[in-house]
């Protein structure tokens, strides 16, 4: 059961990821990305992390992608140009680099993570409690560091968007 749900969700994620980068209407791209995130949420839920699944939908599908749509609608972009126009070398290098990074991630994940369906010893399943404990004890430093990074990007965006005062 778990395996079938996972396979369907994973297949959906891949198909919609392709739609997200290949369709020519930007709104459809964003919608496809929403479907990718919903499929990811299903995978989290199947793995027993329903809290993470809900947060995935609330944060990414419900907020981040709404901002994407907001920008697209504000600029009124009706169509994106077809890719692969006239720069074959760059296209080839880009594809090679992304395949390389993807392979690296897969290899690293195979080294670090347990195989699918295998239960990590001592890991608690379920809602927010184990996740919150892990974030505020074991990974406290990384957690706080990420908030500094977010603050830095916020300030950066503010500097970029600020109008020069004469």
């Amino acid at each position: 059961m778990v395996t079938y749900v996972f396979l369907v969700a994973a297949a959906m994620a891949i198909v919609f990821a392709l739609v997200a980068i290949m369709h020519r209407s930007p709104v459809v791209n964003v919608l496809a990305l929403i479907m990718v995130f919903l499929a990811l949420a299903v995978i989290y839920a199947v793995l027993g992390m329903d809290f993470l699944a809900a947060i995935q939908i609330i944060v990414y599908s419900g907020a981040v992608l709404v901002l994407f749509l907001f920008v697209i609608m504000l600029l009124n972009i009706r169509k994106v140009e077809r890719f692969g126009s006239g720069r074959p070398l760059q296209a080839f290098l880009g594809a090679a680099a992304s395949i390389g990074v993807g392979m690296g991630v897969i290899l690293a994940a195979r080294q670090l993570a347990p195989s699918f369906g295998e239960v990590i010893e001592g890991a608690e399943k379920g809602t927010a409690i184990p996740l919150g404990k892990a974030l505020l004890t074991t990974h406290l430093f990384a957690f706080e560091l990420i908030s500094v990074v977010l603050m830095a990007s916020l300030i950066g965006a503010w500097v970029l968007a600020r109008k020069e005062d004469s």
Binding site: V27, A54, I58, G62, F70
Partner: protein
């Protein structure tokens, strides 16, 4: 297994029937209520006190021609048709985690009914509601984009900005309640509010967390696009915003979704801050009669907040868009954070 399924089907049928019947009743209340506030008569011709007016409206909407505006083709046509469906699906499916009565271990066909809530085993509770509810904004945004109309587009843009701004305030103001309860399940939230302080003050969350209750209510008004925050529709500026181009049942889908969202929002206010189905004195009665009494209490409280929605709509004028954003970011979010800090301090000192 099968009995479980039948019990769930019965709950789904009852809840969806009540929600869908609630819509015409609310339309009637809104029209008569607005007439009362504005010193007019309102619809009073069809049926006693005009009560059958919504039926006539429904027949009218169903028999109207379903138009698609010129230039809405291809992908845009798909989005145009998808939007009302999203609105209605999201509106109907958010209610399943709201507990609407107390279950003292009742049985149906010799089988436990598992609480007066459609999905009792969903530990996520309020998180599920926020997750599904946050997808509702896509209905407005896609309708605005797909309609190929500048007023609709402006409505959609406003919807996306407004929903995100107020979603933050809404979620942060709920954090205090969840901290006190220690659970995401709305059933636990209500049970935590049963009982009294000093024998007569009900243990409702609104009393220690008045600021949180106020920010939550304001945010909910903005999330349901009701006046004074109906910038998305804003008849005076944008025709009616995102659903300008819709007619017939597609328009009715948006209309129904708005009223169902109002019912869900009122239920949430009641469950989170006003004690759900509890009253001081009658917290956990037994038997079917007691259960029905708790459902009645819950319905009465929800009805009050539904009337509150109508009352506010016809009392306050509409905000300007920059005022709306300033209120959301400069007042509601800091106030919600203040509430959540106060709850944290009070819990650490042992008061809550």
């Amino acid at each position: 297994m099968w009995v479980d399924l039948i019990v769930t089907v019965i709950k789904v049928l009852v809840v969806s029937t009540v929600l869908l019947t609630g819509v015409p009743i609310m339309v009637w209340v809104e029209r008569r209520g607005s007439a009362m506030i504005q010193d007019r008569l309102g619809p009073n011709r069809v049926g006693p006190m005009g009560l059958l007016q919504p039926v006539v409206d429904a027949v009218k909407l169903m028999t109207k021609e379903d138009l698609t505006p010129e230039g809405v083709t291809g992908t845009n046509r798909f989005l145009y048709l998808l939007a009302p469906a999203i609105a209605l699906v999201v509106a109907v499916s958010t209610f399943i985690v709201v507990p609407f009565g107390y279950d003292p271990g009742l049985e149906l066909f010799g089988h436990a009914i598992g609480g007066f809530v459609v999905a009792p085993d969903l530990d996520l509770g309020i998180l599920y509601l926020f997750a599904v509810g946050s997808l509702g904004v896509y209905a407005l945004v896609l309708a605005g984009w797909g309609s190929n109309n500048k007023y609709s587009l402006l409505g959609g843009i406003r919807a996306s900005a407004q929903m995100i701004s107020y979603e933050l305030a809404m979620v942060i103001s709920v954090v205090g309640v969840l901290m006190v309860t220690g659970s995401f399940s709305l059933d636990d939230v209500v049970l935590h509010q049963a009982g009294t302080w000093f024998g007569f003050i009900p243990k409702w969350n609104v009393i220690p967390q008045l600021i949180g209750a106020i920010t939550f209510m304001v945010a909910v008004f903005a999330e349901t696009n009701r006046l004074p925050f109906d910038m998305v529709e804003a008849e005076a500026e944008l025709v009616v915003g995102y659903h300008t181009e819709y007619s017939s049942m597609r328009f009715a889908s948006f209309f129904m979704a708005e009223y169902i969202n109002m019912i869900t929002a009122s239920s949430l206010i009641v469950v989170l801050f006003f004690g759900g189905w509890t009253l001081p004195g009658i917290a956990t009665p037994g038997g079917w009669l007691g259960a029905l009494a708790t459902i009645g209490i819950f319905a009465a409280k929800v009805a009050f907040f539904l009337w509150f929605f109508v009352w506010v709509r016809w009392t306050l004028p509409r905000f300007r868009f920059d005022q709306l954003m300033a209120l959301g970011w400069k007042w509601m979010i800091p106030l919600a954070v203040l509430n959540f800090l106060w709850v944290g301090v009070a819990m650490a000192l042992g008061y809550l």
